[in-house]
């Protein structure tokens, strides 16, 4: 179960502060442990994507198996805006977010009357439609070749400008700032009345309806928001990769985000998706250095998690912590005194 929405009134909890502080230091040690700065960029971008996706799956209980479409739309929109409108980072990011949100709103308006397997199948169907368009609409998307030469535009704050193209460290800190904003924003959102209703919908949609809430609007809004965040992550990904390809919109790429979220424990923890992203990308790089069949091992790990610990890594950590507290931190009952002593 996800923590009660009444769990914290704070905007920044100790856990958030510690995670952000730790992530802020990554550029100082990542190469010393044999990894590389771009991996940090990727992890943060996918974490933004996974947090947005988990609003749907973990919080609202809506399984979207075609979410790669919105990630891809964000990536393409970022590149197209840069080439055809204005090469300004903020404008291009806003256009990417808006394009993904628009696509999400359009799709959710059709499918939000459905639930369960019908909802899931419709998300796949629409995801495939967008993927097909990205491949076939060659004049706009570049077809299977994708959009190339997308620039890492400078972050212009008026008085000061940061060049994000010169090094992956600069890009890392930009993506880190974006991650921090999304993280804190979503933490507040899931603890708000709105977030509480999303969780109520996951538990019992019928009851929510009979309490006077318009479930359809909540589903449409959360799908749109999730798509917008995915589009934002997609735009950052296009900037990081300096290109956009239809591959990220494919069914198997949409499957990755589902796997990351479930393995990490998105169904039981706010942090689950982030944990899942770390597990997935570190497996890719560390196991991938040993064998090209890394996906086989991750798939096996996924199956084992789903069979024996469906709450994911976050659920495992939670149980271990609770067990530790029960064993070592619970005061033992006071010894009964012998009345005769």
């Amino acid at each position: 179960m996800l923590p009660s929405p009444q769990a914290s009134p704070r905007l920044i909890t100790p856990a958030i502060a510690i995670v952000l502080l730790l992530l802020a230091t990554v550029p100082f040690w990542i190469e010393r442990i044999g990894l590389y700065p771009y991996l940090g960029v990727e992890i943060l971008i996918w974490s933004i994507y996974a947090l947005g996706f988990n609003l749907l799956l973990g919080y609202t209980g809506l399984p979207s198996f075609g979410h790669g479409a919105y990630f891809g739309i964000g990536a393409y929109a970022f590149g197209l805006a840069q080439f055809n409108i204005v090469p300004n980072l903020w404008v291009c990011l806003l256009i990417a977010i808006f394009a993904a949100a628009l696509a999400g709103a359009f799709v959710s308006a059709f499918i939000s009357h459905r639930r369960g397997i019908y909802f899931a199948l419709m998300t796949i169907a629409f995801g495939q439609v967008f993927w097909f368009i990205s491949i076939k609409w060659h004049s706009i998307t570049g077809g299977e070749d994708g959009l190339l030469k997308i620039a890492r535009l400078p972050a212009d704050f008026g008085v000061v400008q940061f060049d994000l193209g010169s090094s992956n460290y600069a890009l890392y800190y930009f993506v880190f700032a974006a991650f921090a904003i999304v993280l804190v924003g979503l933490w507040r959102l899931v603890n708000s009345p709105y977030g509480r209703i999303l969780q109520a919908i996951r538990q019992n949609e019928t009851r929510v309806t009979f309490l006077g809430y318009s479930v359809w609007w909540f589903k449409v809004s959360v799908f749109t928001l999730s798509a917008a965040i995915s589009g934002f992550a997609g735009a950052l990904f296009a900037m990081a990769q300096t290109s956009a390809f239809p591959d990220v919109m494919s069914l198997h790429h949409s499957g990755y985000i589902v796997m990351m979220t479930l393995v990490g424990g998105g169904l039981v923890s706010f942090w689950g998706p982030v944990i899942g992203v770390f597990a997935f990308l570190l497996t890719r790089d560390l196991i991938g250095a040993l064998t090209t069949a890394w996906m086989f091992w991750f798939g096996l790990f996924f199956v084992l998690i789903m069979l024996f610990k469906p709450e994911g890594i976050a659920g495992l950590v939670r149980d271990l912590r609770n067990g530790f507290i029960a064993r070592f931190c619970t005061p033992s009952p006071a010894p009964v005194r012998d009345p005769g002593s």
Binding site: M1, L2, S4, P5, Q6, A7, S8, P9, R10, L11, R188, L189, N191, S192, P193, Y194, G195, R196, I197, Q199, A200, Q203, N204, T206, R207, V208, T209, F210, L211, G212, Y213, S214, V215
Partner: protein, 247 residues
């Protein structure tokens, strides 16, 4: 004029007629019972009255306003709450959180995304007051799925009451309850009687006849008799409808 009125309700699923010319009028603060054998159409009637199904024909008015064909959420927002025969709770939420979810204050701020619910202590206090009314104050922090069957039934009613309705529909609230649970429920309903307009489907005729001002008998999707409990005891149609002994 009746506060809640249904007239000439028809409901059919395909070729099957489930409700036929059902009329129901409920005065403000009246306690109305609905009885009938299994499969007679009582719950379907509730589902039509609360917006889950749209009637094939007929009209439903509430406080003089035509609410036929309104969605369940629109009907709920007008002040009509219901409980369910098969329990419908938020199992992972505590009893307190279940009640908070139903409160009009919560509904009023449902689109607020920048506000932390935990800041609103008044919601907790109001929810605990409702829970106290149904005897669940001591279990406010217990998750709904960890409550006993009787407590879950009481929570169903608490959730319905939390919305501060003008009309409360209760669908077999004693279903599955033992003698002590029934007695507790009867006490609660006695406290509510006269303060709230209540429509209740119930198989426990002794309980219903001791509480209701008027009772409608549904058989084969039709209202075959209606009147006060005393009038119905002598009704030949009711005697023949296999409802058990009318006390």
């Amino acid at each position: 004029m009746a506060l809640f009125e249904a007239s000439g309700l028809h409901m059919r699923f395909g070729q099957r007629v489930v409700l036929e010319r059902v009329d129901l009028a409920v005065e403000e603060h009246q306690f109305v019972g609905i009885i009938g054998p299994n499969g007679a159409g009582k719950t379907t009637c509730f589902n039509v009255l609360t917006g889950r199904y749209r009637p094939s024909r007929g009209t439903i008015t509430f406080a003089g306003e035509n609410i036929t064909n309104l969605s369940p959420q629109a009907i709920a927002r007008k002040g009509i709450a219901r409980s369910f025969q098969i329990m419908n709770l938020f199992d992972e939420y505590s009893a307190r959180d279940n009640v908070i979810q139903a409160m009009p204050e919560m509904r009023a701020m449902s689109w607020k995304v920048g506000h932390a619910v935990a800041q609103d202590r008044f919601l907790d206090e109001a929810a605990e007051e409702v829970l106290d009314g149904v005897g669940l104050a001591a279990r406010a922090g217990v998750r709904a799925k960890d409550l006993s069957y009787g407590d879950r039934r009481a929570l169903e009613i608490a959730v319905a009451l939390a919305s501060r309705p003008r009309v409360l529909f209760l669908d077999e609230p004693t279903s599955g309850l033992g003698a002590s649970g029934r007695a507790r429920l009867r006490e609660l309903l006695l406290r509510l009687k006269g303060k709230l307009t209540i429509v209740m489907i119930e198989h426990d005729l002794a309980l219903l006849f001791s509480l209701a001002d008027r009772v409608s008998v549904i058989q084969w999707g039709q209202v075959i008799a209606k009147g006060s409990p005393d009038e119905l005891r002598g009704d030949p149609w009711v005697q023949r409808s296999n409802l058990g002994k009318l006390q």
